[in-house]
Symmetry: C2
Subunit: 325 residues, 2 copies
Amino acid sequence: MRISLPLALVALTSVPAALLADPLPSWNEGAAKDSIIAFVDSVTDPDSADFVPVKDRIATFDNDGTLWTEQPIYFQLLYAMEVLRRMAAEDPSVLSSDVLKAANEGDMAVVMAGGEEGLLEILDVSHADTTPEAFKTSAYEWLTTAEHPATGLPYAGMTFQPMLELLSYLRDEDFATYIVSGGGIDFIRAIADDAYGIPPWQVVGSEGRVSYEVIDGVPTFTKGGGMTFLDDKEGKPVGIMRHIGQKPIFAAGNSDGDFAMIDYTTAGEGPGFGLIVHHTDAEREYAYDREGFIGTLDRGLDEGPDRGWTIVDMARDWARIYPGH
Amino acid sequence: MRISLPLALVALTSVPAALLADPLPSWNEGAAKDSIIAFVDSVTDPDSADFVPVKDRIATFDNDGTLWTEQPIYFQLLYAMEVLRRMAAEDPSVLSSDVLKAANEGDMAVVMAGGEEGLLEILDVSHADTTPEAFKTSAYEWLTTAEHPATGLPYAGMTFQPMLELLSYLRDEDFATYIVSGGGIDFIRAIADDAYGIPPWQVVGSEGRVSYEVIDGVPTFTKGGGMTFLDDKEGKPVGIMRHIGQKPIFAAGNSDGDFAMIDYTTAGEGPGFGLIVHHTDAEREYAYDREGFIGTLDRGLDEGPDRGWTIVDMARDWARIYPGH
């Protein structure tokens, strides 16, 4: 895929020149911004006791709710519902359960009532029997053209400008920046390079069955049904161990699904920075934490501060939310 | 792990200065060496029709028999047998099958007769109920101190000098060099950085169950029994898709277990280089191909040349085999 949508680049180059010395211009002055910069300074200064060599500067980021919006529901689920509608228009028998029927009719109340299990069923049915390449092309097309119901922005345009700056800042300081998401690895890879400057090999996500065979002389991968790896909660450290093979020194998330990853990063010896994006901004984005099952943040709020994690108050700490907005 | 064993570095810096302009000094002049250099030139020259941008310069290497010796049997199996002997000395009941008993007694004939299934049983029993960190420390210790029965060299010293040069050459030309091995990912990661200059996140291998939990406040991974992913044959392209997410442009192997990976790399559009190490050197290493089940090379010899793959004749093409020897 060679279509170019350098959202992050456009956003960064539109920053006034006078602010360029500030690596995080969309972060308001305060404890959150200070703690990030102090940590980066301490691990990159060769004279610091906490100095970390370049090869060990690994940073991991959750995606939904951390790098982009995850309301009214995960973007991948909205995409899955769109695919399901297309499938049902051709063959209504695909709607074999109440949750699938509700998804087809856009009845979000019933979809949400189906909980995580219902979501997985919708993802499963809509994401099977395609190639990763075709899937990524389709997801990319949708992410860059379909409009978010509340903002009217393309979904790919709803990345968080302050987090894009944080990714760039860390990379400028020779960190490797990984996405470690509960979302599907192929879905994220479809947009990660354009949206975040993150190549496919630095995306860790949930995985479904993939098979390979040569069909009529053409090497062909096929996405099967079923999930072989769920990269959430305790699965996130496991995903990190499998893909990266080394403990990060910086981890950012927004929900209790990220607790284990951040805990793993900050516990034990050596420097480790934990960051939680707290969605407190009902006006510019969304305000939610302990309720519901999208991005539930409970334990992180209770235990994060005692562990020295930085809790970012979106309304207070971020001067802007989306690039160019 | 911070123990330093820069084998590759020592070997490379011991090359006479007059030869430094030659990126592959341990390769004899001939078609194999020429084809490698011609390919690298063609994909790195911006004026070439086959130019490949840096981010797409991905090279994948099988490990056993391609980057180091795999005879009389895979090094990982020899390590597993050593661990099994230690386990059996403490608790003989671990020897619950004929293959396990044979492995404990070093009866290689019976072990070999057990085929691939027997090998997996030995690996399974010997590699479970440990942490990846403890496992890697133990494997590293063994790889750098135990002696190979034929050469008396430490196993970690039996990497192929010409392949070390090839890895360095490709990295100097801005390739990312990955190991894609049927061997266990943790076993290879134990030595990959020291032996090959390859960091853990560029190692793709077979995977066993890994769980994560916090025990007494300590984040802890545990290797369980069973294999969750076999990175061999058609599994190699799948492993590449999962870890790297992009087609390589260079792939090297030595057995039919690598056929699918090399075929995937060289089929279809765009430049792609396939390389097979043919073990033809009974004097300096081993000579084997179509017989047996360690590194069986049959289809690759028959079909590789027609696909334009470079078949390296070890006896003819390599001036040296091991670093410093």
